[in-house]
Assembly symmetry: C2
Homo-oligomer: 290 residues x 2
């Protein structure tokens, strides 16, 4: 058993498992939540499997925030989709300064593999999310269908969802995002993170993890759902830049099936997420059950 | 303007207002949340009003917990019901010891008017919830229909919902509860609170705020929805005693339309609440729109 089950909580007819495991890629114990919909328990009897939606959280969050406030379980329960809520960084690596800022270090892994000392010691959330975590999960939980996986996320996690999707064609059946950091190389949050994880000089690496850069290279059909609130202060401050992403997609001829919705008055909080969570699970369901 | 609006947050098509006001009954500034569904904004134009659901929180909570995690806005938005999330006690009265325990004093007002020194200085949540708050709200917010009000609550707030409903025939169109403290005079939480707020000798007062005692006196039809999780540790510890309530109702011939549902494996948390919030709003809606 790779995972320890620290709690099992009934939720919307299924079970939310609070798990932890020793992860190699991040050099530490990682916590996550796994929501198994009611169909997962029926599936165990019939040997069919349920598809999986990875939800990547934003700055400062753990897997708990969205499990409690995001209401993904509501529609995931109805559709029969498992939801994985990973943490946002390694924890407790004892790197000097890693806990000093809300937007860098712990709680702010940015879904990259750091190349710069000292963060290259374990800040490898890219490998953790795309390889180690799914491989370990799908090995231990037979009921999860590793061939039907989608991805979504919020803010820094929206950046994660978009970049992991765009860097790995075929790995995810669909992608959506809430208020994603869409062009990190051109916003303060992204610049700070990439400087710290890659170094200032390593601009090639920066571009490899920038959704707006990646979408220019995308080949084939691109069907995305992106929601941004017009009352989101981080949007107003230029941290999100979804227009840059859309413009780049348009220039590359890939924008036709990107639904970028500006939601009147909504902010950056889980109140916003909860309101549109059903739509994002529906978006994933269409691809996962196609 | 009796209320200060500290924040306005878009949620499920409506707005959650974070309000505060100087309350006479509790001798302090009280915070609360008011969810206005989308229909409230349409109603302002047509001069029709929306009905109101009071949600009473449990021990340690403020109005924020359920606003963020309870999922009531989901169905309230659809039905066109405003939701009021009050605080659970006065705050900052500087009574010695009021912040020492999670289950007495601040965060634990138990929806009674304290008669015992020193808590009689402001621990008057009964008067606050049944009189001052609704009167002040309905005066300031024209869009709220003071003639169509329902009540619900969780744990200590479930006790509050049941007792306020049973003590005030006609005041509330309907009542429901999640994991209510149903017989406080016979459980440790209730005994501690009533001893502190009323005194050990004042058993008459104790009974006046005990749902199981009150239901014996109820005249007429009684239509209640009560959910309790079988995995709820407080239920297992005998803090809730819903069976006592049901037995008393039965003895009085009032149990026919009480739906006491035991929900398999659910605990005492907001995961439980969120799962069944839709049902409780539906229960209220049937009465509010009858």
């Amino acid at each position: 058993m790779a995972f320890t089950t620290n709690a099992t909580i009934a939720s919307f007819g299924g079970k939310l498992l609070k798990l932890s495991h020793e992860a190699k890629s991040t050099s530490c114990k990682m916590a996550l939540n796994l929501y198994l919909p009611p169909q997962a328990f029926q599936a165990q009897k019939t040997t069919s499997k349920v598809p999986v939606l990875f939800y990547l959280s934003g700055l400062t969050c753990t897997g708990d925030n969205c499990s409690e406030k995001g209401f993904f379980q509501h529609k995931a329960s109805e559709k029969g989709i498992a939801v994985v809520y990973p943490d946002t960084s390694p924890r407790g690596l004892n790197i000097q300064g890693e806990d000093d800022a809300y937007d860098f270090g712990s709680g702010a892994g940015f879904y990259v593999d750091a190349t710069k000392e000292p963060y290259n010691k374990g800040y490898n959330m890219y490998t953790y999310i795309t390889k180690e975590l799914p491989e370990t999960l799908f090995k231990e939980f037979d009921v999860l269908d590793g061939n039907r996986v989608s991805i979504t996320g919020h803010s820094m996690g929206g950046h994660g969802a978009l970049t992991l999707f765009l860097k790995n064609p075929g790995m995810y059946k669909s992608c959506s995002a809430f208020a994603p950091i869409s062009n990190p190389i051109n916003c303060p949050w992204g610049q700070k993170a990439f400087k710290g994880y890659f170094g200032e000089e390593n601009q090639g690496k920066w571009k490899e993890h920038d959704a707006t850069e990646l979408v220019k290279q995308w080949k084939g059909h691109l069907h995305l759902l992106i929601d941004v609130g017009t009352g989101d202060n981080f949007y107003k401050q230029g941290q999100l830049l979804p227009e840059n992403f859309l413009a780049a997609a348009k220039e590359a001829g890939n924008d036709k099936d990107i639904r970028l919705r500006f939601q009147q008055d909504y902010d950056h909080s889980y109140y916003f997420m909860a309101t549109f969570a059903d739509d994002h699970v529906e978006h994933a369901a269409k691809a996962l059950f196609a």
